[in-house]
């Protein structure tokens, strides 16, 4: 990128370092709803091991989490709670909608399921699958890390 002054170069570097630090320690919120939650747990298990990508711990408190992985179908009763949890998370925060149900309602096109969690919270990465495999979740977390490092959100990179 074009640099006009040494000061800007330094700030740019600090920015880069900050983004690198953020992307290397994305701590998810334990937002496990249904079947996808089990695959999310499996992603932390030995075979797939999410921790090596920096997601060492899942935080139960939204105040301490960076990433909300909405894993599972969102019922009508649960929708306001997801919004509330998202609001409670501190900036900067990212959202992965894991699975077909969270992305678009999935197999359940009926009265009870919210047709996509993006009607409630902004989503950065959509993951199709029913449930997606844990390595798919690893890829989604990698995409989030790319987004963090590039400083943007959404766009064509958001298709997992």
């Amino acid at each position: 990128m074009a640099v006009e002054s040494p000061g800007q170069f330094l700030l740019g570097k600090v920015d880069e370092v900050a983004r690198w630090a953020q992307s290397s320690s994305v701590w998810p919120l334990t937002m496990g709803l249904a079947c996808c939650a089990i695959e999310m747990m499996t992603a932390t298990a030995p075979e797939y091991d999410l921790a090596r990508f920096g997601s060492e711990v899942f935080r139960a408190s939204p105040r301490q989490a960076d990433l909300m992985i909405v894993s599972g179908r969102v019922a009508q009763k649960m929708a306001p709670i997801i919004k509330r949890l998202y609001d409670q998370m501190a900036d900067p925060k990212w959202v992965i909608s894991m699975g077909a149900c969270a992305s678009s309602g999935g197999v359940f096109d009926n009265y009870a399921v919210v047709q996509g969690v993006d009607t409630i919270v902004p989503v950065d990465v959509y993951m199709p699958g029913c449930p997606p495999t844990p390595d798919g979740l690893l890829y989604a977390v990698n995409l989030i890390q790319q987004q963090i490092r590039q400083g943007g959100r959404g766009g064509i990179l958001a298709r997992a």
């Binding site: 249904a34 079947c35 089990i38 499996t42 075979e47 139960a60 019922a75 009763k77 197999v107 009265y111």
Partner: protein, 406 residues
């Protein structure tokens, strides 16, 4: 602010007399095993009242099933008890086969593979229970050991059905496809791995003084209470009642297998823990018997009225093509009637009350959700226990909210 339901403990009333507080545990909580909200009234550390609130995962599966063909409905039904999906599918399929009147036509190989996969599902489900139960208490290593064993079972699911968790492998009339090459070798590897791994897990947990301290005499369910509250499965058997659907109402050839119904008498969380561990061993015994006695032969009933034609004939036979087209686009009709079938799921008696009005779609699929009744008794057993034990009690009841809420 989430609106508090009328008639329940209200969350925005905080009373300061007698140290009594109303606390909402969940629905987002690391240890409630899903989306459960328990509104507890505690006095100091002791729970004086506990009201579980469910419905946070209500998916309308039963309504969806009314709008899908008989064969398609098993896909959404499989997603109820998502830890052992094949049990749901098997129970529904057995019910439909009863309504069709074709239970005797199911070939023996299909029945054996059904039993094999359901027992594998049981072990996989108990692995999740064991892993998450351990994590609730701080025993994190057992989570990794248990989930690693579960991976081998999910590998088998993926080989057979194509997907790890919801393989959709069972069909009305038999199976979708025969077992693929390599399945039996992997199954043998799993059988060989099982005993050493269970020995390790038991060594980690069973005699662990911390686990024993936290589980013994917690959440005691007596036999009478269990029956009055409709509790089934390991929670009922830990109270001393040896009711197992596989013994009382045998299905799919379970009368041919030699296995024990594991019971204990104490009825506390530790007894439920031991019952489930022993149940995993009994499931492995059944799997070994199936493996030894697995017969060859067809895997689909020989009746074209409700089965699709073999895939390889579709390209060469016009009749098969037409049959396949009609099967997929308008499905078969099931004669009118109602039936209740039950299987022994990992959580207890999972049943379906299926009503057909003669159409090509179910009229009603009512689930008898084992987890709903198992969870309901939390209202009773939590009273008088410490708030810290709430997590242990919920874990020992092992609810799955896909089944509780549907």
């Amino acid at each position: 602010m989430v609106p508090a339901p009328a008639g329940a403990l209200t969350m925005d009333v905080v009373e300061h007399e007698n140290n009594r507080m109303v606390l909402s545990m969940g629905p987002q909580h690391p240890s409630t095993h899903g989306v459960l909200q328990v509104i507890t009234e505690i006095e100091g550390e002791v729970v004086t009242r506990a009201e579980p609130e469910i419905g946070y995962l209500h998916t309308g599966i039963e309504k969806s099933a009314e709008n899908l063909f008989w064969t398609q409905a098993s896909t959404v039904i499989e997603r109820m008890d998502y830890l052992s999906p094949l049990s749901n599918a098997l129970c529904y399929i057995l019910g439909v086969e009863k309504l069709l009147g074709v239970t005797e036509l199911i070939p023996e190989r299909a029945q054996q593979v059904r039993v094999l996969l359901c027992e594998l599902s049981r072990i996989a489900s108990h692995c999740v229970w064991l892993g998450t139960g351990g994590i609730d208490l701080g025993a994190i290593s057992s989570f990794f050991y248990a989930f690693d064993m579960r991976e081998r079972i999910l590998d088998l699911n993926e080989l057979a059905g194509g997907a790890r968790m919801h393989p959709n492998y069972l069909r009305i009339g038999g199976l979708r496809d025969d077992l693929p090459a390599g399945f039996l070798e992997r199954l043998d590897a799993l059988i060989a791995m099982y005993r050493p791994r269970m020995t390790e897990l038991r060594a980690l947990l069973q005699k662990n003084p911390i686990l024993q301290d936290r589980m013994i005499d917690i959440g005691i369910i007596s036999a009478d209470d269990a029956i009055a509250w409709g509790v089934t499965g390991p929670s009922l058997r830990a109270a001393g009642v040896a009711y197992d659907v596989r013994r009382a109402f045998p299905y799919s050839g379970y009368e041919n297998y030699d296995f024990n119904v594991v019971t204990r008498t104490e009825g506390d969380a530790y007894a439920r823990f031991l019952v489930r561990l022993d149940e995993m061993d009994e499931s492995m015994r059944i799997i070994e018997q199936v493996r030894k006695n697995l017969v060859g032969g067809p895997i689909m009933a020989d009746d074209t009225k409700f089965t699709p034609p073999p895939k390889e004939t579709i390209a060469v036979s016009m009749e098969a093509l037409i049959h396949h087209f009609k099967y997929v686009s308008e499905s078969f009709r099931v004669p009118p009637g109602d039936v209740y079938t039950a299987v022994e799921g990992p959580r207890g008696e999972l049943g379906y009350y299926i009503v057909s009005n003669g159409d090509n779609r179910p009229w009603r699929v009512r689930t008898r959700p084992a987890s709903l009744y198992n969870l309901q008794i939390l209202k009773k057993i939590a009273v008088g226990e410490l708030i810290a034990d709430m997590v242990v009690m919920i874990g020992s009841l092992d609810p799955v909210f896909g089944e509780v809420d549907r």
